[in-house]
Symmetry: C2
Subunit: 394 residues, 2 copies
């Protein structure tokens, strides 16, 4: 039994942010009913790569859910959705602000049908404020929050974070706020509305950068892989990849010179005498160190550093990550069968809980897989289901 076995979620979201949120809820036992638009469903179904014509991207973030197809732009479709909402604990949508109201499925409308409903809206910029009407995607949020401006090569152009950080930020912030609202209900409270934006969710994570800005007026800039106040503490190229060297203080620096790179003379080099000097001369120091590190494999250097207690680690590419013994031991790669795609792999569940661990119990639904089952549960007569189908509602 998962922790959320008694929670029913009606999910009108698509692409990444909303679906990641409801996947986490589903992993923990919630019954998530994904309502996909008529006729083609979630836009992610058209994103590659494909396996037996099923989208791998879609399958990654929709496991453990039931899927129905419903044309909510029609009155009949909307009425089916209203019936569903009457049975639900949570409703979540990621339309552009204003669209839910036009569709007749905004919070005020649904609250009339279920006053205990927890209603969560995810949007690019939120439901209020001068930018609220704009469409916002992950990369726009990365630009708006400052995260791009602090990521990249030292002195270089802003680069984006390699994964969709703001989509995920909104997703996990939605997860914990939906659980908060659920706890409020379990304690006797009512339902409520949650307004969440991609921008706010990621911005709230930039705490060190905020401390530097509010406390000292410092504006965080791209700094490659370098640490802002310690050197050398960063990535270096090796013969077969990249590694991180964390010689963050004088003692570790001296250990590094003596026992790792055999350059004891650098300890006395006037340019590198103190952390301050090493920071000021980081360009030349970086090159000097890298010229040595490229001569042997990552593993060689990591072992040497571990032997003397210097913080260090690999910079894996994704292929190395997915085949690493520790990652596999932690069950971060899972394999299971999808009825259409066949055997697929997916990422595992990050937290390991002793009593109510998350589980992967079913693959992502194919389009409309559970439409009939869910409508039957709502006691909609067979004849009406047939008509809904004939009239292109489901």
């Amino acid at each position: 039994m998962g922790a959320l076995t008694n929670m029913r979620v009606i999910d009108l979201t698509q692409i990444l942010s909303g679906p990641y949120c409801t996947m986490v809820l589903a992993d923990m036992g919630a019954e998530v009913i994904k309502v996909e638009k008529y006729p083609h469903g979630d836009d992610t179904r058209f994103m590659g790569p494909f396996q037996n014509e099923e989208s791998y991207s879609f399958m990654m973030v929709n496991r453990n859910k039931k899927g129905i197809r419903l044309n909510i732009k029609t009155e009949e479709g909307r009425n089916v959705l209203y019936k569903l909402v009457e049975t639900a604990d949570v409703f979540i949508e990621n339309f552009r602000p204003g669209v839910a109201e036009k569709l007749g499925i905004d919070y005020e409308e649904l609250k009339k049908r279920n006053e205990n409903l927890i209603y969560c809206s995810i949007s690019g910029y939120g439901q209020t404020g001068p930018y609220s009407h704009k469409g916002g995607y992950d990369i726009m949020a990365q630009g708006m929050s400052g995260i791009m401006s602090m990521t990249g090569e030292h002195g270089g152009k802003p680069v984006k974070v390699g994964m969709a950080i703001h989509d995920i930020a909104a997703a996990v912030t939605a997860v914990y706020n939906i659980l908060l609202a659920h706890i409020h209900r379990l304690n006797g409270g009512k339902g409520q509305y949650i307004d969440l934006s991609l921008v706010d969710a990621g911005l709230a994570w930039t705490v060190w950068e905020a401390a530097a800005y509010f406390g000292a007026g410092e504006v965080a800039k791209p700094n490659g892989s370098r640490h802002r106040v310690a050197a050398p503490y960063q990535g270096f190229k090796t013969k077969d990849g990249h590694i991180l060297v964390g010689a963050a203080n004088q003692k570790l620096w001296e250990l590094f010179c003596k026992h790792v790179i055999n350059k004891e003379e650098w300890i006395e080099d006037p340019r590198f005498l103190s952390n301050k000097g090493r920071q000021e001369n980081i360009e030349v120091l970086e090159k000097l160190i890298e010229d040595i590190l490229v001569l042997a494999e990552s593993e060689h250097w990591l072992k040497k550093m571990e032997d003397v207690g210097i913080p260090c680690g690999p910079i894996f590419n994704y292929d190395e990550v997915m085949n690493n013994s520790h990652i596999l031991h932690r069950e971060m790669v899972r394999e299971y069968e999808h009825p259409v795609a066949g055997m697929i792999k997916n990422l595992g569940i990050p937290a390991k809980l002793s009593e109510t661990p998350g589980k992967i119990t079913s693959p992502a639904p194919y389009l409309g897989q559970h439409t009939k089952e869910v409508l039957q549960q709502l006691n909609i007569p067979e004849e009406d289901i047939r008509l809904l189908k004939e009239n292109n509602i489901i």
Copy 2:
């Protein structure tokens, strides 16, 4: 009343990940008692910038908490901690695996005193697996999860994400898993143990990259600010900053040429006829576009694109973020008084809840601010408190 008004959290974490987790719980009404080590407290207290000798970094992630100082390496100190644990719902620590056991405060030990306890451990690599013994910091986790390897300039070196993405990943994953465990208790279940690692928490977010890898064997690489399958869809320099241009399909590309940069002839240019061509010739296209965009201010270009419906947005530096009208409207910058530091600013609360909104009710504690108050609540006699002080336990 916050959603977590009935939750009491004993927090033995320091630096960023654990403290961010308990700050979120405190924002939502939980009583968080931060237990700092004797004599100097959380290491973050030594991280700048400082205001009236209080660390701004510390103040950013410890608001709304009570703070006590306690020497848990002594028997008397440990006994005080045991008494605290008997009153608690949640216990959270971020020692290196094995240390809590040595200190006599591991899950098995604390469960004896409170079988309903939710015990959460945050570590670099988790409590199990071949890397579990290693010390792990945010940057090591960025290297291990592959996130660094997919961030940076096209063809360039891996660069780190400009904020501490894995620390925060573990923090927010801890938040929602603690709430899940709390819900299990509210539904009649027992306490439980949560094992969470920085690496697993961030890795679980790389879903698009996992889809590309599992589905097509593609290993995500740094790509600057460029989109992986659409061009031009990326950042460009302007006269006064950087902007994002999202001309993601043929229609938007033509609108961009005609109405934004006045280069209608590029629509017919054989190099740029299709998205495929634009991707193959992105180096030259990027330069051609930037040579035009640097001639005017960001605002000029953003207005032109908005007028014809091309997705776009600013790439703000952190100073621009913190002074932006929309960010301020969303209450993402808050100001309040700290008893020692005076007026300080902090980031706001991302999700806006209609019934149980998060609140900032008190600033971060100065070292030992609530020691006496908390010990008195445990009914420890005044004389014993005096002795604990004399013997350097508190």
